[in-house]
Amino acid sequence: MSTDKNTKQVDLELRQFIKNLGYIAGGTALLTTVPWLQSFTTDKLSEIKNEKARVAIIGTGSRGQYHILNLLRIPHAEIVALCDNYPPNLKTASDLCPKAKTYNDYRKMLESKDIDGVIICTPLNWHAQMVLDSLAAGKHTFCEKSMALTMDECKAIYEAYLRTDRVLYFGMQRLFDEKYIKGLSMIHSGLIGDIVGIRCHWFRNNDWRRPVPSPELERKINWRLYWESSGGLTTELATHQLEVSNWAMKRIPESVVGMGDIVFWKDGREVYDSISLTYHYRNGVKTTYESLISNKFNGLGEQILGHKGTMELEKGQYFFEDVAPAPGILQLINNVEKRVFSTVPIAGPSWVPETASKQKPHYVIEGMVHTTSGGSMVGAENDGSDNLISAFCQSVITGEKAKDIVEECYSSTMLCLLGNQAMKEQRKVDFPDEYKIPYLKF
């Protein structure tokens, strides 16, 4: 599977990613926006050039296989074991990396001395138990988002994380997505002024179901549709966007109200197919969150609304409220930021208002924007997931913890669970004191 060409390519991609980030704000502003990237420099990447992280995967379903494909292209990773209790998925994964040992019981697998890092891609109800067992077995651990199914489980994971000397990551790939990192650092530099509101949404038009070979497997395969194993649209989708919302605000909401219903997919599922939530920050800013899976017109997105402009993070675009900056001047500024001296086209006959359109987008990353329709259940290309898993493998080798990732995942997962509570109990829910951790600034 992993040809030399592929390997080089990924290495280059990660290098390029780190290098690209280097020129945003000269690196200083970068660290305040993305503290978790402190350990990922091109130098560090060369240091571990000849080493390999020996990783194992628990849960080789669709997300697990997606990570396998990325791992196969990462020079400093070696997949040594696979575990799934559903044979067809284990077989597919094993075909992708035949050298890896296979297990159907993850506890057995954790006993192996040949594994340095564990990557958990199982349904949400398994996350807590598996993370705790994996850390207890002395393994560096990566777990997919969201953190866990209940608030108590989240707290238990957080406490284990404080105690452990092992590395712990969660699958919040936006933290490693170039367009988000740049977009957020621009927001933090004041580009769009004070944040006055945030709108997040994720719309799809599909039933979220997977075909089931025999009826007794329904709850196993379609775990997303039942409360015992899933938080529904919040923990599956909103978690990413609520994290972004907090990242922009540099604080977290103190309360939430919302409504959730099954509007269209009345097929025996328990989780809502339509949700609207409003999160309230102490300074009055609100994040509205909408998700619907029977209409895809609006796709997905996060709009950060500032008093001077609007940033659409997923699209990598921003708009100014009133002033459309002259394109030539913007080019000049971009060049100076990249330390380039070149000519800019600003001279010509007088600019008259009619020739300038008002709400023209500007791009966070010139010429390169990967956006997604949000339709995929597996993951989008180039969304930071490959950088994230590569960074985890680097940490497995160095043993260096990445800053803030656990805390970010804890915050956004808590918000998802509080949102679910608000919808189920039809009331305003405050962030409970007993789940507050020092990291959270309200």
């Binding site: 002033v323 086209p345 006959p349």
Partner: protein, 287 residues
């Protein structure tokens, strides 16, 4: 009359709302300010300066100065001095402010040096009587009125330059609606500011690259959307040639005046006008 007049004033005000935007790029020590709806166009300023607070205060001064001049030169603004001069000068001697008087005196001088092609009345500057002793203005013709459209931006840029020099901002590029550019010092990674002139009839096509350092540039020309905006004051014909002229001079006022006059002038006239301005650098691009 009072009521409708006030409403009209409010409407005019809304249409002329000036929006000012600014941002400081820390890592590059670059300040960018934009002002929209100023003298019928926009102004963008870039300062290279490590003192952020200084940039902000200089920008505020710049904006205030530009708004003041916009008001002074706006012949449509019923509260402006030029509005009242245009209204009253055909029938009386209007006492003018020092500044308006001195601008008009300079305009007269350039009118002569440009062989009548630069003309703030667009028809007959001779009908404007400037009484320097009593500091009054009067028009000897009924249909005369003054329009500073072809020199106000240049004048304003010279004032902006003063603000920058006083604040000791050494490296700056000010783009006033693309047609008037003031360059102080140099780009942070070069020894001058390099800008290019785009063909307005073919987007993306660059007709020239110009290096600027401590000079003023002015461009005059037609655009596909605006073919009839430059008038020959002697023939009253619009200049509709598909061409651009550029002029680099020591000050923006002179640069802007010359670019208009040289856009109108024929070859012979261009030579004669330029003979009075040794240091000016002139180019013409036929598109």
């Amino acid at each position: 009359m009072e009521g409708p007049c006030r409403v009209l004033r409010a409407v005019l005000y809304l249409f002329s709302m000036n929006t000012d935007y600014s941002h400081y790029y820390d890592a590059s020590s670059l300040f960018h300010g934009s002002l929209l709806n100023i003298m019928g166009t926009r102004l963008d300023a870039v300062f290279i300066e490590t003192d952020r607070a200084l940039c902000e205060s200089v920008w505020q001064k710049t904006v205030a100065e530009l708004l003041r001049l916009d008001k002074m030169f706006n012949r449509f603004d019923i509260e402006s001095e030029i509005y009242s001069v245009n209204l009253r000068a055909p029938t009386e001697r209007v006492v003018a402010s020092d500044e308006l008087m001195s601008v008009l005196i300079s305009c007269k001088r350039y009118h002569l040096l440009s062989r009548g092609l630069f003309d703030v009345t667009l028809s007959d500057f001779d009908a404007v009587d400037l009484d320097t002793e009593h500091q009054t203005i009067s028009f000897s013709e009924k249909n005369v009125s003054i329009d500073f459209g072809a020199c106000a931006k240049g004048y304003a840029l010279d004032k902006v330059k003063q603000v920058l020099v006083e604040a000791d901002i050494k490296d700056a590029l000010i783009d006033f609606g693309n047609s008037s550019v003031l360059a102080l010092g140099h780009h942070p990674f070069g020894d001058c500011w390099k800008i290019s002139v785009e063909n307005p009839f073919r987007t993306g096509e660059i007709v020239d690259e110009i290096e600027l350092r401590d000079v003023a540039l002015s461009i005059s020309g037609n655009m596909p959307t605006h073919l009839k905006h430059i008038v020959n004051p002697r023939t009253h014909q619009f200049i509709e040639d598909k061409k651009i002229v550029s002029i680099i001079a020591q000050n923006s006022f002179e640069a802007e005046i010359l670019s208009t006059a040289l856009m109108i002038a024929n070859h012979e006239e261009q030579k004669k006008i330029l003979s009075h301005f040794d240091h000016a650098l002139f180019k013409e691009y036929i598109l």
